[in-house]
Subunit: 404 residues, 2 copies
Amino acid sequence: MKHQKLLTAFFTAIVFAVLAAPALAQAPNAPPQVTSPEVHADRKITFRLLAPKAESVRLSGGDIPGMGPGKELTKNDKGIWEITIGPIDPGTYRYNFNLGGVAVIDPRNPSVSESNGNVWSMVHVPGSEFQDTKNVPHGAVSAVTYYSTALGKFRRMHIYTPPGYEMGKGKFPVFYLLHGAGDCDDSWSSVGRAGFIVDNLIAAGKAKPMVIVMPAGHTRQNLRVTPPPATSGGAPPPDEFVQDFVTDIMPYVEKNYRVLTDRNNRAIAGLSMGGNHTLNIALPHLEKFAYVGVYSSGLLSAFMRAPQPGAPRPAPDAIPAITPAGEAWIKQHQAKLDDANLKKGLKLLWFATGKEDFLLGTTKGTLDLLKRHGFAPIYEETPGGHTWINWRNYLTDFAPKLFK
Amino acid sequence: MKHQKLLTAFFTAIVFAVLAAPALAQAPNAPPQVTSPEVHADRKITFRLLAPKAESVRLSGGDIPGMGPGKELTKNDKGIWEITIGPIDPGTYRYNFNLGGVAVIDPRNPSVSESNGNVWSMVHVPGSEFQDTKNVPHGAVSAVTYYSTALGKFRRMHIYTPPGYEMGKGKFPVFYLLHGAGDCDDSWSSVGRAGFIVDNLIAAGKAKPMVIVMPAGHTRQNLRVTPPPATSGGAPPPDEFVQDFVTDIMPYVEKNYRVLTDRNNRAIAGLSMGGNHTLNIALPHLEKFAYVGVYSSGLLSAFMRAPQPGAPRPAPDAIPAITPAGEAWIKQHQAKLDDANLKKGLKLLWFATGKEDFLLGTTKGTLDLLKRHGFAPIYEETPGGHTWINWRNYLTDFAPKLFK
């Protein structure tokens, strides 16, 4: 009964807040109202957290320029912790608070970006030509649940359908867009702004209307708790996501969506882990894809140096020696890699990586390998590092090159 | 540079976690792995939070049976706070932790339900015939951004399209489904499981394939901070959401989706505040809707008693006297309310409220009013209170009655 009374009081309060807001706005003894985040006209951002008992509150947000390892908030006499940062470049940023050693999202911000094992708060700084929400025709971004026969479980993907699609006319080219190790299938459409970017590019006549499929690259939630089995040989274990993609995702999309199914109307790209997935899917099935994009990545298992405790870190653009796993992979896919006919239909093999990216050497090693096998990859080396800032820019650059 | 090194270390760690998970799983000095929530086979749920420095951690989850005002977690010697509750009835529940006075979501749970000014963690207890994710054809639930000319800003709604819709054939009936004061446009498809419920009902032959539109009922994020202006007379202020619905939402859906636009193929329902919205939209536009549902609600501004501090709480089913605002509303819509011809095409006017619901009196007052004006509402009084448990059940009961 006590519970029922509390619930009643709670719901009565919010229903009355809606019906008679002016009265409640002035309610005595109400806790202070906290707005967070607040993006100012000069692109500074104020973050606030009401936590009178906390000993310290730190703001973390890896991608926010100048954020470094985090910034301490300051408490005022009402128990509100606050910090103002910036001006910050236009874009979308994930962040959270560290509250007594616990990473928590901003309790006052309903805007979130899901990841593989956690959720981030999200803040958008307007001012970008193609990333802002603009008054142009908008597509729809769906969450789609499917049963993966390859993995034996339910999975979710996000699918963008362009303006006009839902009225039912025509078929569209399809672009598979894969996320990174720190992300999930929600990431490209939340922090990645994929839907808004492509809406704006279509409205500006820069990109063709297309369906964008954003699947879940992680096949297990907590990789470190339940790792995939290692193989005894030198080759990396069979990639569960690649199996899911080939066996379930592509067939699901082609059965349930009005997408064109010829090579010239199929593209694939991914960032970081998703760039590795892209190569692992596209190179062995090159007859299926005319457009391939690799953002801040390469063949990770072939060209990524394991961190050596205590050893000096190599220069970021130093190309690692190819690993035994890489050699095994090349041998496995030798015929496709060296097939000159397949390359004729490959309209674009596009790489982009930041000068400060820790996968710069991996990118360069992969480019060299592909050239040795007769590919002609395009490579853009950009400012910046391994960030969503770059990945949104790469999508903005890449999407206009598709389906021409 | 220090920031870049930290970012590099972070991304290297997660990329390697993916490539070489077994090694990292055993890393020395790694913080303990915490899984939360863990739903056991006997439908008990264990919640965990790694917070060695916290003085107390409380679990809150208004809808969880037996939860009461919250339950304290217990800390073990590794700094992990833990509680096991239940067995809990199958269903989906919102919850959060109170960490030193701050309401935070579960940092280890990527499953969330957005609300108007905050985000909840979400846990699903399987075992329900129509609410579980089952291996049946699934529809798609989209987030759709539109520009509201009525409100002068961008707004979001969620739209469910049934299995088969995305292939482009046929037109479908449309069901507008409105959320409550404690929710947002995400709520019906997250904690409300609307997509999964209707997928299952369609697969079982119990409901017709339909498009479900779930708009955002709140027109401002923080109502208490920026309340809508009060009017000088007795009538409630013009409802901004009703304007948005009539001017923008319905026209957007009918322009951009393959929905049937005759009365017999249009339904509307809502819970709590959304039930009030439903009546405010449907009664003055009765020629547009053949099916109307009101869950745990009624005409709130007409039949809701303001809380009287110190006064004994009236019995929940006591019908409040009609307010001046209610009288004004009736007068305003008298012609429609008394139009016998409009009632002929109204195939269903369905109410359901729980016996313990604080809006039981409001429901009954509204039913009496409608009967006095010649309506023949169906009323189901169910066990329980003002909870998502009931609202999912009401949707499961209501959807099969539509478009017959």
